[in-house]
């Protein structure tokens, strides 16, 4: 009988507990706990020991020096500013390029649409690192692409301004360009999803009532695609602001982005409390756009 009771218990409670418990426990152990350790680490004191931190002893238990430095040291403020500017510019460019592309995708025939959507998604599956690398090959001083740009520049401007090559690598311009390249699919897909749902009858009605095409776009299409714009914008902005790989490979070392600063503080300077404090501040800055994003998500779910 006890076997029967056990299996009844399993059916009623144990099964659900297992289903919920296993992933829950995993995320608490390997995601939440490490994150809480980082938050605690941000108020620890750097020591020359291994591991290089301490709470208490001759040091204060809660040491806010790292936060003080984030808010006062120009290096960190500049890095935050560079990150946010680069991410914002990349986001706006992605929107300007991605919106007409997404709209175009809704206007082509069904057969073409599937092929083109596949071509938008394909880069998702190929290595991120290699996509950045592909642009390193394009931007280098001796590359055919840089040669093409150099020739066009020299053709267009007076002789005094002629250059031997266009300085592209190791600039903020390169960072933004490669960010737009790698994150553009994140913008196109949610925009496409929200534009595809629109009823073409509304467009036709507006046209019949005498609206010009750009008025139809402004008054009918654009307002209805705002959830897609917000979703795409956040999907570009959030990873771009914390980006490490792109600025490390094509960025300007003298104006680092925040992701690179965290990594350098941690690995080179071995200042764990400092790296953690910068990380916490970055996350706090990210919370605002994330809340905005989920607010819009909830709203668009509700209106469906």
């Amino acid at each position: 009988m006890s076997g029967g009771r056990l299996s009844r218990w399993f059916d009623r409670k144990g099964w659900t507990a297992l289903l919920i418990g296993a992933p829950y426990l995993w995320l608490v152990l390997f995601f939440l706990l490490p994150f809480l350790i980082v938050v605690a680490m941000s108020v620890a004191t750097k020591t020359p020991t291994a591991p290089p931190f301490s709470f208490g002893g001759e040091h204060p238990v809660v040491n806010l020096d790292a936060y003080g430095r984030v808010l006062t040291d120009g290096l960190y403020l500049r890095a935050f500013l560079t990150s946010i500017t680069n991410a914002l510019v990349a986001m706006i460019l992605c929107l300007l390029i991605g919106y007409p592309m997404a709209l175009g995708l809704t206007r082509v025939s069904k057969g073409w649409r599937n092929i083109l959507l596949m071509l938008v998604i394909l880069p998702f599956w190929t290595s991120f690192l290699l996509r950045v690398y592909a642009w390193m090959g394009m931007m280098g001083r001796n590359s055919w692409f840089n040669g093409l740009l150099t020739d066009s520049w020299n053709f267009l401007v007076p002789l005094d301004w002629a250059v031997r090559s266009v300085p592209m690598m190791h600039t903020n311009f390169a960072v933004v360009l490669v960010m737009v390249y790698t994150y553009l699919p994140f913008m196109i897909l949610p925009l496409y999803a929200s534009l595809e749902r629109l009823d073409p009858v509304l467009d036709e009605a507006a046209m019949d009532l005498g609206s010009r095409p750009w008025q139809v776009f402004r008054d009918v299409t654009l307002p209805q695609s705002i959830p897609g714009i917000v979703a795409g914008g956040m999907l570009v902005f959030i990873p771009a602001a914390g980006e490490l790989v792109i600025p490390s490979l094509v960025g300007n070392a003298s104006s680092p982005m925040i992701g690179r600063l965290i990594s350098d503080e941690f690995s080179s300077a071995r200042d764990w409390p400092m790296a953690s404090a910068v990380a916490v501040v970055l996350l706090v800055l990210m919370v605002v756009p994330t809340m905005l994003y989920s607010h819009f998500q909830a709203k668009s779910e509700g209106s469906k």
């Binding site: 995320l27 680490m41 592309m101 709209l103 175009g104 290595s127 992701g259 941690f266």
Partner: protein
């Protein structure tokens, strides 16, 4: 609506040129005979030949595939459980925290996930002596954690589209919850589980940042190897390696897309025929 959207088509053409020209350029230059990666010096396959005899690359590839296989499999199991949980159990204590935990790794910058995992593993080793040496185990654990949430999202959205009446019918006929899961729910959501596994596999295979923090001496995955070489600049052998990777993945994705598409179409046809028979 009969006007041809000339402007939109033009932007699409430029957009796709922007997407694919850098990759095509890289592929072309992988056949460059010259040692200077960006100056054309005639056609050659020498970089491919030297790549195939490079043990470092082969070892890194094998390690990456092992980690990706193990982490994708565990992530798929945990992620599927979480996806089912979020779609089916709308009320349980701690659901808010749970759905937060599933979303957070998606928006967390990789650098932060990386250092928090590393600090966690170091402190853990300091306290309980495990994990002793960082490498395969620590990389795999970190990969499972951040790729399982992608599986969760895919499975959850499939579950929400699913017709619940079949499950309820099986319950009414006396099936036990785990039998319903095994015989009905899992077969129905199996395409989502397969795409979840594939996504987790490629995410693991591709990761640089989190791997670079959780790796240890002697454990160099393929992306880490490429990362360390690429930092020094563009080289023809990396062009060749990149070409092989991009072409392999490209063919794989297109093939998978076609297969999944066919399976989905067949399912729809079967469903319709079943309906017609009944009606």
């Amino acid at each position: 609506m009969n006007r041809r959207p000339v402007f939109l088509i033009t932007v699409l053409c430029f957009g796709f040129a922007f997407f694919y020209i850098p990759i095509l350029s890289m592929i072309v230059y992988s056949f460059n005979a010259s040692r200077l990666a960006t100056v054309w010096g005639g056609f050659s396959t020498r970089w491919y030949v030297s790549l195939l005899s490079n043990d470092q690359v082969i070892n890194a590839l094998v390690l990456s595939l092992k980690i990706a296989f193990v982490s994708a499999s565990v992530a798929t199991i945990l992620g599927t459980m979480a996806g089912i949980t979020l779609a089916r159990f709308t009320k349980f204590r701690g659901r808010m925290v749970f759905s937060g935990l599933v979303t957070a790794p998606l928006v967390m910058p990789e650098v932060i996930t990386g250092i928090s995992s590393l600090i966690f593993f170091i402190i853990l080793a300091d306290w309980i002596g495990w994990p002793g040496q960082r490498g395969f185990t620590t990389i795999t654990l970190a990969h499972i954690t951040f790729s399982m949430v992608f599986v969760t999202i895919i499975v959850q959205s499939r579950m929400l589209q699913m017709d619940r009446t079949i499950e309820e019918a099986a319950m009414d006929l006396g099936s036990r919850p785990w039998q319903v899961m095994k015989d009905i729910t899992l077969p129905v959501i199996s395409p989502a589980i397969v795409s979840g596994w594939l996504l987790a596999f490629t995410i693991s295979l591709d990761d640089v940042v989190i791997t670079s923090f959780t790796t240890g001496p002697g454990s160099t995955t393929l992306p880490l190897l490429i990362w360390s070489k690429v930092k020094l600049g563009v080289t023809p052998d990396i062009n060749a390696l990149a070409t092989l990777m991009v072409v392999t993945v490209g063919i794989g994705v297109v093939a998978a897309g076609i297969i999944l598409n066919r399976a989905e179409r067949r399912r729809l046809i079967e469903e319709r025929m079943a309906h017609e028979r009944d009606g």
